[in-house]
């Protein structure tokens, strides 16, 4: 029998990058909040500079909930979905914001209005016919104040490109106007990023250090980055990475109103006969507990958000919670991060220490920052090169078809070239399409016997064309910097599981095509808020976390401001 716990105002499912932000405005308004987190707490002592733990063994120090719920994936319904090698997310207070790269971009204004902007500039026929894309229900300006709050609450470093309409040198001139500078200047450059910046300027481009939720100098009681080189899937050993575990969550705990419940594995969201959410059922150890609440905020990342809704079936919602419209799981896409370009240089790059967020961006070929009149796609890609090199991955570098991948010649090759190669990171526009979706796998179950999520999604022509176009630009850039050899990797068909996963609970005014309203609350369950990139209808050409965090703050503030009508 489940044990029913005392009622609270708000229960938040998942204390990661977005749930960990939403708790702050809630407690600031005096609400009592219970945060349920599947993982536990980590300290800096758990974050050894260890490539084996971080990059080969996927954090043996973490609760393995996600590892037991790995999605299955297929390109389309003609294939059987197979379980992939790992889950992109991890469990713990702070969630994946502990070991992510921490690139913290705002979307560009175009990303909010892809349909109308494309129609205005090129004509409606340029939207791929099979795409289900819609404009966001609001524009960049509406989200700007929340971007600002998150940047300051977490601590984001960066060089502004547009402050109140004034274009600033050293920043991204394509970004939307921001109300003030970043709280800290961007991370420092390196010899390699300086070299790449020089090459970009030769091409007439305007390179800039991208924004990161990593301190570039002392911020509050946390130090600046130590650049020790274990940031990629590594927790920060000095808490310079602004994960929610060291920023908004402890800040919210100071109020005494946030109760963090670790090792809580949520089984389903409960509802009553009127269709209101009444709380959450969860497993902790071997106990099943019920946490009643006046409002429920679901913040467990795209795959688990959709899965928990589909698993929360009831008489009122026989196809899953908030899914009487059949929209849960639709408009899914994972970010188009594949198809990188690899370069070989004739000299050492001195990249042994640094981090993925210490990089240089080119935004000239992203979004609609260039004329698409004579092109056969919409959108584009942000080009990114960064410092990040560790010994095992360095030794596994591409041989550029110059030597076999074993033996004496290979040994000589890696001895010479381990620090002479670089791989670009090109994030590209991805669109939602009919036929790309999430649902429950009919066969594969997790350790508790619940179905895992099944991904059915493949890239279409628009994605393939962006990949080819941006690889051309990237190759041009590497060649200008002196690269002597280039490898282009193909994009492939299936989208697969990704940290950058969008949709499934899309946000929009039309309840027949969207799960949540413009504030992220369910059209069908008024006191159920859904947080994360699962509400985003477009990807932009940059990392989603900061946008998901700004949206989470906005949803939480909306709940606070409309408490009686939503939760009453």
């Amino acid at each position: 029998m489940a044990t029913e716990l005392p009622r609270t105002d708000v229960v938040v499912i998942g204390l990661g990058a977005v749930g960990g932000v939403a708790v702050l405005p809630l407690v600031s308004a005096g609400l009592n909040v219970i945060g349920l987190e599947a993982g536990g707490w980590f300290s800096t002592r758990d974050f050894a500079p260890d490539e084996v733990r971080n990059n080969l063994r996927d954090w043996p120090q973490a609760v393995p909930k996600a590892k037991r719920e790995i999605p299955t994936s297929r390109a389309n319904i003609n294939f059987e979905a197979l379980q992939g090698g790992g889950h992109p997310m991890m469990n713990g207070v702070g969630g994946t914001s502990m070991h992510y790269w921490a690139q913290s971009w705002r979307l560009n204004p175009w990303d909010f209005k892809v349909v109308s902007e494309t129609t205005n500039r090129y004509g409606a026929h340029r939207i791929p016919q099979e795409s289900t894309i819609e404009d966001w229900p609001f524009g960049y300006d509406e989200l700007e104040p929340f971007y600002d709050r998150v940047e300051y609450a977490l601590g984001v470093s960066g060089n502004a490109g547009n402050v109140n309409g004034e274009i600033k040198p050293g920043g991204n001139k394509f970004e939307g106007p921001r109300s003030r500078d970043y709280p800290m200047p961007g991370l420092r450059s390196s010899g390699f990023t300086d070299m790449m910046s020089d090459a970009a300027r030769q091409l007439g481009w305007e390179p800039f250090q991208g924004p990161a939720a990593i301190n570039s100098e002392v911020y509050g009681d946390r130090p600046g980055c130590f650049y020790h080189g274990f940031c990629d899937r590594g927790g920060c050993h000095v808490a310079a990475k602004s994960s929610t575990a060291v920023t908004t969550i402890p800040e919210a705990m100071k109020s005494g109103l946030l109760d963090v419940v670790t090792h809580a594995r949520v089984l389903r969201i409960l509802t009553d006969a009127s269709g209101k959410a009444t709380g959450v059922e969860y497993l902790r150890g071997n106990q099943v507990l019920i946490q009643p609440a006046d409002a429920v905020l679901l913040a467990s990342q795209t795959y688990e958000n959709t899965r928990l809704l589909l698993l929360s079936q009831s008489r009122e919602f026989p196809n899953g919670l908030a899914n009487n419209s059949g929209q849960v799981g639709q408009h899914y896409f994972s970010h188009h991060q594949g198809a990188p370009v690899l370069a070989l240089f004739p000299r050492d790059l001195n990249n042994w220490y640094g981090l993925p967020a210490q990089g240089v961006a080119i935004d000239e070929w992203a979004d609609d920052n260039f004329d698409h009149s004579d092109l056969d796609f919409i959108g584009g890609g942000n080009l990114w090169v960064h410092t990040n090199r560790r010994p095992i991955s360095a030794a596994k570098m591409s041989t550029f078809d110059r030597v076999p991948n074993w033996g004496a010649r290979w040994k000589t090759f890696i001895a010479e070239n381990a620090d002479r190669t670089n791989t670009s990171y090109i994030q590209k526009t991805t669109l939602p399409y009919r036929g790309n979706y999430l649902d429950l796998d009919p066969q594969v179950k997790d350790a508790l016997g619940f179905p895992v999520i099944r991904i059915t999604a493949e890239h279409r022509d628009n994605e393939q064309r962006i990949a080819a176009f941006t690889q051309d630009r990237m190759e041009e850039w590497y060649r200008a910097a002196g690269a002597i050899d280039i490898i282009r990797t193909s994009l492939g068909g299936a989208m697969g599981a990704s940290t950058h996963a969008y949709g499934g609970t899309r946000m929009g005014d039309d309840p027949t095509t969207n799960v949540t309203d413009r504030f992220g609350f369910s059209h069908e369950v008024k006191n159920l808020g859904i947080l994360g990139a699962s509400v985003m209808g477009t990807s932009g050409a940059r990392n989603p976390t900061l946008t998901a965090q700004a949206l989470a703050w906005r949803s939480a503030q909306h709940l606070v401001d409309n408490w009686e009508s939503i939760a009453g």
Binding site: A48, P49, D50, P391, K396, K411
Partner: protein
């Protein structure tokens, strides 16, 4: 170049990188950062670092590999990353010790493949040369590996590119991982590719030296805080697990 590296570490009472780090830390990061480093969550830089060699167990038995398996695997790893040019390779790094330990833990799912694949390698060697794989000449071994990578040994389906790539990956992991895991003995893997070693902080001046930077010669677990042992009872009593 490697002589120079050795000389510089030998004359230092403690790895040079750490003392540099401490200076950089106090100078560049600010007192708050330094306080955080030495606060309740345990010290990162202030612990005296034991000489790396003392921490690495020199006597080490194979836990799961049999005597025959370890001999065959070491011979295979030694051709993947050979040492016949006079510089250390997978054998000197003790990559097979890494693989053995991993097979009892994180890589346990691969144990059966190793058993079957290594047996097949010896079976094929016996059939073709009437000797075990590790008794063959390097050129005989290389010819078999070549055939494996091209999936030519059709009578021995286990001896294909899949098995080879698995062993190759694990040989690299063992040669270039932190020495804590049993391989990369004396940092020979890191020296080979010019990685100057684990550091707690890296200054622009250090980074710009690239592979000529004096190697740190430390495992991550030579830094006491990461062993998670209760090194300081006072610090442990204060907790600090909430990351405040």
């Amino acid at each position: 170049m490697s002589d120079k590296k050795k000389a510089r570490t030998d004359e230092a009472g403690e790895p040079e990188a750490l003392s540099l780090s401490r200076r950089s830390l106090l100078k560049g990061v600010g007192l708050t950062g330094a306080a955080l480093m030495t606060g309740a969550s345990g010290t990162v830089a202030a612990q005296p670092v034991a000489a790396a060699a003392q921490r690495i167990r020199v006597v080490e038995a194979f836990e799961t590999l049999t005597a025959a398996e370890s001999a065959t695997l070491d011979a295979l790893a030694s051709r993947i990353l050979p040492s016949d040019d006079g510089t250390p390779g997978a054998h000197e790094a003790r990559a097979v010790h890494y693989i053995d330990r991993a097979l009892t833990g994180a890589n346990a799912a691969s144990r059966d493949q190793y058993a079957v694949g290594l047996q097949a390698l010896d079976d094929y060697s016996m059939q073709r040369h009437d000797r075990l794989f590790h008794q063959l000449s390097p050129s005989e071994q290389d010819a078999i590996i070549e055939a494996m990578t091209e999936n030519q040994l059709t009578a021995f389906p286990m001896l294909g590119a899949g098995f080879f790539n698995m062993v190759r990956n694990h040989t690299i992991d063992g040669t270039f991982s932190d020495p804590y895991y049993g391989g990369n003995r004396d940092f020979v893997g890191w020296d080979l590719i010019g990685y100057p070693g684990v550091r707690i902080i890296s200054t622009p001046e250090e980074i710009s030296q690239g592979r000529s930077l004096s190697p740190s010669r430390q495992s991550a677990y030579d830094v006491a805080t990461y062993t998670k042992d209760p090194v300081d009872p006072a610090a442990v009593a204060q907790g600090g697990h909430h990351g405040h």
